[in-house]
Structure formats: structure tokens, C-alpha cells
């Protein structure tokens, strides 16, 4: 949070932001194109892993966009509206609001690139041998499921109390944890592949 902006001011600004906005940009066709270009998995384990990666990927996109939503905005940043429709493997199309300004938009492009790079790494993980055991994948999925369950519970609470600073902070923290989760897996995966390929 900007030291110049109090929490109350930030909340007031958040409250002023529109809830729905028209779509201008949808990064997912490119992402699915990238997914489509990767070798198709043959085993159920690989399919499961791929689904898990998709879930992670979709959630990370949500996290990234949410991070932008909650990002404090300085006086020089005039907020405009955007809306992104995300196709997630679990819930179909999910609509996510994005608050966009010039600097944020630039950041979005950078994050898109980083995200795609990270996602390609996950695809490689699924194809690497010996790969992760089904038990490990299951444990990772359970960890991710915990994050998602918590996210849903927080979203319900936030729907009831959208101005609750404590809840907004928890959501922000959860987004950070989701990104941290992904980073940790990428880091460990690098080790995995370095040792196996």
C-alpha cells in the first residue's frame, strides 16, 4: 500500500470502482493456443496433472488480476474499466473485473508473458520423467484445493461485507499465497527437471 494513502482512502477508492465493465482484452485464446501446441498426454496421471496445472494456471490468472484490482493507485493513475472472461476447467467461464490504467496495462502484458513462461514450465513438468508420483500430485492438488476452498469462503464473506478492510486484507494475502504457491512449485520443479532431464 502506498504510504501516502490511508487504508480508509484505499477502501473508499475501491468502493467507487465499478463492479462490471466491458471486455477489451482476453488473454486466454493465446494461452489455450499455447496449451494446444504442447504434446497431448497419454496416461490418466498426465491428464490429471494437466488438469491440475490448468486449475493452477486459471487461478493464478485470477490472482494476478485480483492483485491488480487491489493494487493501490496513485494520483497520476486514472482508472478506466476492463473486464476479462476467464475459461477455467473447473467452473467454465468466470468473469473478472480488471481496473486498468496505462502503467497497469503495461504490467499486465509483462505478467501475461511471465505467466505463459511459468505455464510452459508446468507443461514440461507433466512430460518430464520420472515426474511426480500420483501421491505427490494428489497432495499438491489437496494443497491447492485448500487454497480454493478458502478463496470461496472469503469471497462469500466479502460479498456480504465488501467494505470490510480485514476481509479485503485476507483476500489480498490469499492471492499472495496463491502466487507464492506457484512460485514454490516452479522453483521445485526446476530442481526436479534439472535432476531428471
Amino acid at each position: 500500500m502506498s504510504p501516502k494513502m490511508s487504508e480508509k482512502e484505499l477502501l473508499n477508492r475501491l468502493a467507487e470502482l465499478p463492479r462490471e465493465i466491458s471486455p477489451q482484452r482476453d488473454p486466454w485464446p493465446e494461452i489455450f493456443k499455447a496449451i494446444g501446441n504442447t504434446p497431448a498426454g497419454s496416461g490418466s496421471s498426465r491428464f490429471q496433472t494437466s488438469r491440475w496445472f490448468m486449475a493452477v494456471a486459471a487461478s493464478v490468472m485470477l490472482a494476478v488480476f485480483a492483485g491488480l484490482v487491489f493494487q493501490p493507485m496513485g494520483e497520476e493513475n486514472v482508472v478506466t474499466k476492463d473486464f476479462v472472461a476467464l475459461n477455467t476447467p473447473e467452473k467454465g467461464q468466470v468473469e473478472v473485473s480488471v481496473y486498468e490504467n496505462t502503467s497497469v496495462f503495461r504490467m499486465l502484458n509483462v505478467i501475461d508473458a511471465e505467466y505463459l513462461a511459468a505455464f510452459r514450465e508446468f507443461i514440461n513438468t507433466g512430460n518430464s520423467h520420472p515426474g511426480l508420483t500420483p501421491q505427490t500430485v494428489e497432495k499438491i492438488e489437496m494443497g491447492w484445493a485448500d487454497l480454493r476452498v478458502t478463496e470461496e469462503a472469503l469471497a462469500v464473506a466479502l460479498e456480504k461485507h465488501p467494505d470490510n478492510l480485514f476481509l479485503n486484507e485476507r483476500m489480498l494475502e490469499l492471492r499472495a499465497r496463491q502466487l507464492g504457491f506457484l512460485k514454490q512449485l516452479v522453483s521445485l520443479d526446476r530442481n526436479n527437471r534439472r535432476l531428471t532431464i
Partner: protein
Amino acid sequence: MKTLMKKSLKQLFVLSLGTVVAMVPISGIAGEDIDRAVEMPADGLVQVENLAGSIEFSTWDKAEVQIRGDAGDDVEEVEITTTSNSVQIRVRNRKDSRNVDGTDLYLRIPETASIEADSVSADISVSGSQGENILLNTVSGDIEVDASPAELEVHSVSGDVEYEGSVNRSSVETVSGEIVLIGPTGEVSVSTVSGDASLEAGEVSRGKFESVSGDLTLTLSVADDGRLSCDSMSGDVKLRLPASQKAEFTAQSYSGSLNSEFGESIRVSRGPGVMLQHREGDNGTQIRLETFSGDISIRTK
């Protein structure tokens, strides 16, 4: 954590600059015994990479690394590289092997040597080390450390982490692995998603504990001017402090309960939730606990 990573990079850089004294690939040893010994500085670095099986470090008073083990059936070679200040041991498996047969490595290293170990499913254990740092990475292997390095950094996805010893800077991250730490002091950082974390620490100057659904059970004291933060979503936070602990306490939960022997919790005036704000003494110490639905309890030891 970043500090340790920087140090590792620095060590790698130095390693790359250092003269390679010898590279000894032990080829074609699948299924055979490994038995080698190489000299190294007592305060040097031992790096080990082993995909599956186990890695066991123990210490002795010699400036030498003894490498023993049972090579798995898929081992192509065990590469031992020595430089002026380090020894690197890499177990290379055949590239076409789908299910890697584990290799068990038993290493005796100088007591003051630093350790870095990477594994995927191999369990890692360290005992007796008093080196500068210990850095361990695994995906699903369990990690057990009984040592007193200056710095400890552990990353695991589903493997459990157990530590006992004396360390002044420690950082442990897991996704679903359980964490048990006994004896750390100074700066302690613990992060888990669904694994429970339990800590019995000495005096902590900077403590950062994060969980999503795992419970945090912490017994410690916080130094003057120290900071302790515990954040959990649905996991419970149980904190035990000395009765004499002085600090400014803040705690809040949205839908969990809050019980404290330091001050009284009150209902949040706007919206649901309970909170606590209490000052005990004036030593600059700050203790903050927050959960979404997890219960918070602050008790005396």
C-alpha cells in the same frame, strides 16, 4: 531466505571461478556399492543431488568427505566434482528410465561444512552439522535435521520437515508437509498451506508464520523490539508465551474464536469478528495474529 539464496548463488559463483581440482565420474555402477573419499576444506560446501532414495549427512572431525552408498539400478554415473572449496556429488540416472530405483547416499562431512541438497523423492537427513548454512530442497521426500548451522533454509512440497538444534536464522516452506521445529531462535519464518506447523523456540526477534488450512502451534518468547506475526486462513493459531512476555498485542479473527490470557477480546464494532488490542509493558515488541475462520488462542507457558 533471500539472503541464503544469494549466498548460495555467491557460493556457486565462487565455485565456478574456483579451480576444478578433479571430476570423477563413477560410471556403470548400477546396483553396486559406492565408496569414495575426497579432501575438502573444513568450512567448504558439500552439494548433493539425488533424485530418489535417500541422502544422509553425518559429521566427523576430518577435512574430508566420505561418500558411501548403494547405487540404484538406473544409475548411469555418480559424478563427484571437487574444487578448492567444495565437493559436488550428483547421482545421474539413465535418461530412459521411467521409474527411478532409489540410490541411498551416506556422507560423512566436516562438522563445519555447509550443506546443499536437492532431491525429488529422496529423504534427506542431516545430523551434527555446525556449518555456515544448510539449504535443502525436496518435492516429496521427508527432511530431518538435527544440527546447529548459522542458517537453515528448507523447501518441501509434500515431504515432512523436522528440525532440532540451535539456529539463529531459519526459513521453512511446505505445501502439505508437516513442520516440527525445536530450538530455533532469532529470525524464524514458516510457511505452509495445509500442513500443520509446530514450533518450540527460544527467544525470537523476528517471527513470521503463515498458513492456509494448517494449524500453527507456537511456543516461544519474543525479544524486546521484536516482531511476531501469525497469519492463517482456516487453520487455528495457538500461541504460548512466557507469563512475563511484554508486547503490544493485536489479534483478529473474522469467524473464528479468540481466547487470550493477555487482555480481553471484544466483538468488532463494525461487521462480524472478534479482536484484541492489548499492551503489556512498553518494550517495543509487537505481536500480531490474524485468521479468517481459524481459532486464535494466546496462553502462558
